[in-house]
Symmetry: C2
Subunit: 203 residues, 2 copies
Amino acid sequence: MNIITISRQYGSGGREIGEKLANKLQVPFFDKELIIMAAKKSGMSEEVFKSVDERAASSFLYSLWMNGYSYGIPTAANHLPLNDQLFILQTELIKNAAEKGPCVIVGRCADYILRERHDVLHVFLYADESFRAKRAIQEYGEDEKKIHEILIKKDKQRSNYYNFYSDTRWNDPQNYHLCLNTGALGIDNSLEMILKAYKIIQP
Amino acid sequence: MNIITISRQYGSGGREIGEKLANKLQVPFFDKELIIMAAKKSGMSEEVFKSVDERAASSFLYSLWMNGYSYGIPTAANHLPLNDQLFILQTELIKNAAEKGPCVIVGRCADYILRERHDVLHVFLYADESFRAKRAIQEYGEDEKKIHEILIKKDKQRSNYYNFYSDTRWNDPQNYHLCLNTGALGIDNSLEMILKAYKIIQP
């Protein structure tokens, strides 16, 4: 295997595990980096893309698009809602990254985008709510009082995004080589198991 | 952890891996054995129970039941469809087995039945169709010409059974500590990963 994609519930440790994997394997790491790259490529601001990252466009945006509303962005797809423009840019960036060699990519339908390559290990990470809540508060500074709603909303966004741009479901094990409960296994053991699978599975 | 439950797609190697785990850990193994035990306990024939094993009752059976049709079986639940009687018997047998000590249990909603115990490792096994087809033909003598339909039907039965008797979905990773693609990882590597998780996770 050359490439690892990580799909993950919010707070399950996807970014931390992905970064550690990339460090261990000495390969490039892509997570939020893909927003910055997409912004640079398109000339748009990072902030604008951040607001639509991993979100499917609302039907309201589509109605604007159908009415000929344009965001005036200098790309071939410049009449599409921002979400779709970002998806198209990230798809191109993910495919290019994979072409260049081994890497670790977190989120953004990377498993679906690279589904035709046979040298990619696909992983799904999830955990119980208490584990994810604790991490989201500590690592991302989320509001403790609203954490239950935040976790549900974030995962709903990710799930909608995945289900919108792919023809399968985000949390269907069939899309992945292994799915790990990082709360039960722990971050470092999960990392070890992914590394083992990465070495075992033959393209 | 004391107990391991294995939920599995048909042909993914659940029985083989379960048996090997039980041998390695030197603990009892329950799969089809639960049908024989249920038959003995109820006085019913194994053959009759085999025909409804891991199948949810059809609405036709419920209409018979609603009409007062009885199978005349000497149990407390003897007015229920056979499927439900078997589920009730197997639930009791699974709980008793867990009470007695470490063991490995394959299928039959064991993860859901034992969901309140904290000393149980829950595993879901799946694989690509080609891997499962090959194993189902070789190991269970299934008809090669009909294998595609057989795999779909068997998994639909298992999924219906689980979804009927539980309040969650059969293939939702959230029900399990780890989900492994046995086709990609191989039977022995999957076994190793389960053993690792069994030793790592603290009740």
